[in-house]
Protein backbone atom coordinates (compact mmCIF):
# COMPACT_ATOMS: atom_id res chain seq x y z
CA UNK A 1 0.00 0.00 0.00
CA UNK A 2 1.37 3.41 -0.96
CA UNK A 3 1.51 6.27 1.53
CA UNK A 4 -1.34 7.99 -0.31
CA UNK A 5 -3.46 4.85 -0.14
CA UNK A 6 -2.70 4.59 3.58
CA UNK A 7 -3.76 8.20 4.10
CA UNK A 8 -7.01 7.71 2.21
CA UNK A 9 -7.69 4.55 4.23
CA UNK A 10 -7.13 6.47 7.46
CA UNK A 11 -9.52 9.18 6.30
CA UNK A 12 -12.14 6.55 5.47
CA UNK A 13 -11.70 5.07 8.95
CA UNK A 14 -12.41 8.51 10.38
CA UNK A 15 -15.68 8.81 8.46
CA UNK A 16 -16.64 5.21 9.25
CA UNK A 17 -16.06 6.11 12.90
CA UNK A 18 -18.24 9.20 12.51
CA UNK A 19 -21.01 7.04 11.06
CA UNK A 20 -20.62 4.63 14.00
CA UNK A 21 -20.78 7.50 16.46
CA UNK A 22 -23.89 9.08 14.96
CA UNK A 23 -25.56 5.66 14.70
CA UNK A 24 -25.27 5.14 18.42
CA UNK A 25 -22.38 2.67 18.31
CA UNK A 26 -20.15 4.77 20.56
CA UNK A 27 -16.93 6.73 20.34
CA UNK A 28 -14.29 3.99 20.38
CA UNK A 29 -13.53 3.98 16.65
CA UNK A 30 -13.44 7.79 16.60
CA UNK A 31 -10.89 7.72 19.42
CA UNK A 32 -8.79 5.29 17.39
CA UNK A 33 -8.98 7.47 14.26
CA UNK A 34 -7.13 10.35 16.00
CA UNK A 35 -3.67 10.85 17.41
CA UNK A 36 -4.28 11.91 21.01
CA UNK A 37 -1.97 14.90 21.13
CA UNK A 38 -2.18 18.39 22.60
CA UNK A 39 -1.66 19.81 19.12
CA UNK A 40 -4.75 18.29 17.47
CA UNK A 41 -7.58 20.61 16.46
CA UNK A 42 -11.13 20.26 15.25
CA UNK A 43 -14.20 22.16 14.30
CA UNK A 44 -17.63 20.91 13.29
CA UNK A 45 -20.54 22.24 11.22
CA UNK A 46 -21.65 23.84 14.50
CA UNK A 47 -19.75 25.26 17.45
CA UNK A 48 -16.28 26.61 18.02
CA UNK A 49 -12.74 25.34 17.61
CA UNK A 50 -11.55 22.58 19.91
CA UNK A 51 -7.86 22.67 20.79
CA UNK A 52 -6.03 19.57 22.03
CA UNK A 53 -7.29 16.02 22.33
CA UNK A 54 -9.28 16.59 25.53
CA UNK A 55 -11.37 19.34 23.93
CA UNK A 56 -11.67 17.48 20.63
CA UNK A 57 -12.84 14.32 22.40
CA UNK A 58 -15.41 16.34 24.34
CA UNK A 59 -16.97 17.51 21.08
CA UNK A 60 -17.22 13.92 19.84
CA UNK A 61 -18.83 13.06 23.20
CA UNK A 62 -21.64 15.44 22.32
CA UNK A 63 -22.38 13.67 19.05
CA UNK A 64 -21.99 10.25 20.66
CA UNK A 65 -24.49 11.36 23.30
CA UNK A 66 -27.23 11.94 20.72
CA UNK A 67 -26.24 9.03 18.48
CA UNK A 68 -28.97 6.57 17.58
CA UNK A 69 -29.72 4.21 14.67
CA UNK A 70 -31.95 6.56 12.70
CA UNK A 71 -29.12 9.11 12.56
CA UNK A 72 -27.14 6.73 10.38
CA UNK A 73 -26.72 7.12 6.64
CA UNK A 74 -23.91 9.66 6.24
CA UNK A 75 -21.36 9.12 3.49
CA UNK A 76 -18.42 10.80 1.78
CA UNK A 77 -17.70 11.30 -1.90
CA UNK A 78 -14.78 12.66 -3.91
CA UNK A 79 -12.14 11.78 -1.32
CA UNK A 80 -8.73 13.06 -2.44
CA UNK A 81 -5.39 13.28 -0.68
CA UNK A 82 -1.90 14.70 -0.87
CA UNK A 83 1.10 13.43 1.10
CA UNK A 84 4.08 15.59 2.12
CA UNK A 85 6.47 13.57 4.27
CA UNK A 86 4.79 12.57 7.53
CA UNK A 87 1.92 15.01 7.00
CA UNK A 88 -0.96 14.70 4.56
CA UNK A 89 -4.25 16.35 3.86
CA UNK A 90 -7.48 15.08 2.40
CA UNK A 91 -10.53 16.76 1.00
CA UNK A 92 -13.96 15.24 0.50
CA UNK A 93 -17.65 16.00 0.41
CA UNK A 94 -19.52 14.81 3.50
CA UNK A 95 -23.20 13.99 3.03
CA UNK A 96 -25.13 14.18 6.29
CA UNK A 97 -27.64 11.52 7.25
CA UNK A 98 -31.13 11.87 5.74
CA UNK A 99 -32.78 12.59 9.09
CA UNK A 100 -30.47 15.58 9.57
CA UNK A 101 -31.39 17.00 6.18
CA UNK A 102 -28.98 15.56 3.62
CA UNK A 103 -26.62 18.52 3.58
CA UNK A 104 -23.35 18.42 1.64
CA UNK A 105 -20.26 19.83 3.36
CA UNK A 106 -16.77 20.36 1.99
CA UNK A 107 -14.32 18.90 4.51
CA UNK A 108 -10.57 19.05 5.01
CA UNK A 109 -8.62 16.71 7.24
CA UNK A 110 -4.94 16.78 8.11
CA UNK A 111 -3.32 13.47 8.98
CA UNK A 112 0.06 12.71 10.52
CA UNK A 113 2.12 9.56 10.48
CA UNK A 114 3.34 8.81 14.01
CA UNK A 115 5.13 5.54 14.75
CA UNK A 116 4.22 4.42 11.26
CA UNK A 117 0.47 4.99 11.66
CA UNK A 118 -1.54 7.63 9.81
CA UNK A 119 -4.27 9.23 11.92
CA UNK A 120 -6.24 12.47 11.92
CA UNK A 121 -4.76 15.51 13.68
CA UNK A 122 -7.07 18.22 12.28
CA UNK A 123 -10.67 18.19 11.06
CA UNK A 124 -12.49 21.09 9.44
CA UNK A 125 -15.90 20.87 7.72
CA UNK A 126 -18.05 23.66 6.35
CA UNK A 127 -20.22 25.46 8.89
CA UNK A 128 -23.98 25.00 8.57
CA UNK A 129 -26.26 26.24 11.33
CA UNK A 130 -29.15 24.20 9.92
CA UNK A 131 -27.40 21.05 11.10
CA UNK A 132 -27.27 22.40 14.64
CA UNK A 133 -30.96 23.23 14.52
CA UNK A 134 -31.81 19.75 13.24
CA UNK A 135 -29.68 18.01 15.85
CA UNK A 136 -31.11 20.18 18.64
CA UNK A 137 -34.65 19.19 17.61
CA UNK A 138 -33.62 15.54 17.52
CA UNK A 139 -31.89 15.76 20.91
CA UNK A 140 -34.89 17.39 22.56
CA UNK A 141 -37.64 15.23 21.07
CA UNK A 142 -36.43 11.63 20.97
Amino acid sequence: MSEKEAVLAAARRFYDALEDLMSGRGRQNMDEAWHHMASVTSSHPIGDWAYGWDEVAATWDVFAGIGRPDLSGSKITDLRGCVCGDLAYTTCIFHTAPIVGEFKLNCTNVLQKVDGVWKVVHHHPDKDARIGEALQRIAETD
Binding site: H44, D48, A58, G132, L135, Q136, A139
Partner: protein
Protein backbone atom coordinates in the same frame (compact mmCIF):
# COMPACT_ATOMS: atom_id res chain seq x y z
CA UNK B 1 -34.01 46.60 53.05
CA UNK B 2 -31.16 45.87 50.69
CA UNK B 3 -29.66 42.41 50.90
CA UNK B 4 -25.92 42.24 51.23
CA UNK B 5 -24.17 40.84 48.18
CA UNK B 6 -22.95 37.32 48.81
CA UNK B 7 -19.21 37.14 48.13
CA UNK B 8 -18.14 35.92 44.75
CA UNK B 9 -16.63 32.48 44.36
CA UNK B 10 -14.55 31.68 41.34
CA UNK B 11 -12.05 29.19 39.98
CA UNK B 12 -10.23 29.44 36.70
CA UNK B 13 -7.12 28.57 34.76
CA UNK B 14 -5.96 29.48 31.29
CA UNK B 15 -8.49 27.19 29.61
CA UNK B 16 -11.68 27.85 31.54
CA UNK B 17 -13.42 28.45 34.80
CA UNK B 18 -16.52 29.72 36.60
CA UNK B 19 -17.69 32.45 38.93
CA UNK B 20 -20.68 32.48 41.28
CA UNK B 21 -22.42 35.33 43.08
CA UNK B 22 -25.83 36.21 44.44
CA UNK B 23 -27.50 39.46 43.48
CA UNK B 24 -29.97 41.62 45.33
CA UNK B 25 -32.95 39.92 43.68
CA UNK B 26 -32.02 36.61 45.33
CA UNK B 27 -30.81 35.18 42.08
CA UNK B 28 -27.59 33.19 42.11
CA UNK B 29 -25.65 34.13 39.01
CA UNK B 30 -23.14 31.71 37.56
CA UNK B 31 -20.78 32.38 34.69
CA UNK B 32 -19.07 29.37 33.18
CA UNK B 33 -16.55 29.52 30.35
CA UNK B 34 -13.98 27.56 28.42
CA UNK B 35 -12.91 23.98 28.99
CA UNK B 36 -12.73 22.78 32.60
CA UNK B 37 -9.89 20.87 34.16
CA UNK B 38 -10.72 18.05 36.57
CA UNK B 39 -9.96 20.42 39.47
CA UNK B 40 -12.26 23.16 38.26
CA UNK B 41 -15.04 20.70 37.46
CA UNK B 42 -14.66 19.22 40.93
CA UNK B 43 -15.10 22.59 42.62
CA UNK B 44 -18.09 23.75 40.59
CA UNK B 45 -21.17 22.26 42.26
CA UNK B 46 -19.92 22.93 45.80
CA UNK B 47 -19.20 26.55 44.96
CA UNK B 48 -22.71 27.10 43.63
CA UNK B 49 -24.23 25.34 46.65
CA UNK B 50 -22.08 27.39 49.04
CA UNK B 51 -23.32 30.63 47.53
CA UNK B 52 -26.92 29.40 47.61
CA UNK B 53 -26.54 28.60 51.32
CA UNK B 54 -24.74 31.81 52.22
CA UNK B 55 -27.87 33.96 52.15
CA UNK B 56 -31.60 33.44 51.92
CA UNK B 57 -32.51 30.53 49.68
CA UNK B 58 -32.42 31.88 46.11
CA UNK B 59 -35.51 31.36 43.96
CA UNK B 60 -33.49 30.81 40.84
CA UNK B 61 -30.05 30.17 39.47
CA UNK B 62 -29.02 31.90 36.24
CA UNK B 63 -26.12 30.35 34.34
CA UNK B 64 -24.29 32.32 31.67
CA UNK B 65 -22.67 29.58 29.61
CA UNK B 66 -22.19 31.75 26.52
CA UNK B 67 -18.51 30.88 26.38
CA UNK B 68 -18.62 27.36 27.80
CA UNK B 69 -17.20 24.64 25.58
CA UNK B 70 -18.41 21.04 25.49
CA UNK B 71 -17.03 19.24 28.54
CA UNK B 72 -15.55 15.82 29.19
CA UNK B 73 -17.13 13.46 31.71
CA UNK B 74 -15.94 15.44 34.73
CA UNK B 75 -17.43 18.70 33.50
CA UNK B 76 -20.71 17.05 32.54
CA UNK B 77 -20.89 15.38 35.94
CA UNK B 78 -20.24 18.73 37.62
CA UNK B 79 -23.16 20.33 35.81
CA UNK B 80 -25.43 17.41 36.69
CA UNK B 81 -24.35 17.62 40.33
CA UNK B 82 -25.12 21.34 40.42
CA UNK B 83 -28.58 20.92 38.89
CA UNK B 84 -29.41 18.09 41.29
CA UNK B 85 -28.05 19.93 44.34
CA UNK B 86 -29.93 23.17 43.80
CA UNK B 87 -33.13 21.25 43.00
CA UNK B 88 -32.74 19.38 46.29
CA UNK B 89 -32.25 22.66 48.15
CA UNK B 90 -35.59 23.98 46.93
CA UNK B 91 -34.46 26.36 44.21
CA UNK B 92 -37.44 26.76 41.89
CA UNK B 93 -35.79 27.30 38.53
CA UNK B 94 -32.48 27.27 36.69
CA UNK B 95 -31.93 29.08 33.40
CA UNK B 96 -28.92 28.42 31.22
CA UNK B 97 -27.88 30.55 28.27
CA UNK B 98 -25.40 28.98 25.86
CA UNK B 99 -24.27 30.25 22.48
CA UNK B 100 -22.42 27.23 21.13
CA UNK B 101 -24.83 24.79 19.47
CA UNK B 102 -22.52 21.98 20.57
CA UNK B 103 -22.68 23.12 24.18
CA UNK B 104 -26.47 23.39 23.95
CA UNK B 105 -26.63 19.83 22.62
CA UNK B 106 -24.54 18.66 25.57
CA UNK B 107 -26.75 20.55 28.00
CA UNK B 108 -29.96 19.32 26.37
CA UNK B 109 -28.90 15.73 26.94
CA UNK B 110 -27.88 16.42 30.53
CA UNK B 111 -31.09 18.27 31.31
CA UNK B 112 -33.29 15.62 29.72
CA UNK B 113 -31.57 12.76 31.45
CA UNK B 114 -31.05 13.94 34.97
CA UNK B 115 -33.29 16.77 36.06
CA UNK B 116 -37.05 16.98 36.58
CA UNK B 117 -38.87 18.29 33.51
CA UNK B 118 -39.03 22.06 33.28
CA UNK B 119 -36.63 22.74 36.15
CA UNK B 120 -33.81 23.80 33.82
CA UNK B 121 -34.61 26.17 30.96
CA UNK B 122 -32.08 26.12 28.16
CA UNK B 123 -31.82 29.23 25.99
CA UNK B 124 -29.77 30.15 22.95
CA UNK B 125 -27.31 32.97 23.50
CA UNK B 126 -26.79 35.99 21.27
CA UNK B 127 -23.06 35.66 20.63
Amino acid sequence: MTRPMVPLQSRSDSDGGFSVSQDEAAVVRVRAWGFWSVEIAGAFAKSVVDVCRAGDLPRSVSVDAEDLKPQRDEGQAALVAMFDAVAAMGVEHVSVVASSPLTRLMLARIVKGTVKKGFVELKAGMR
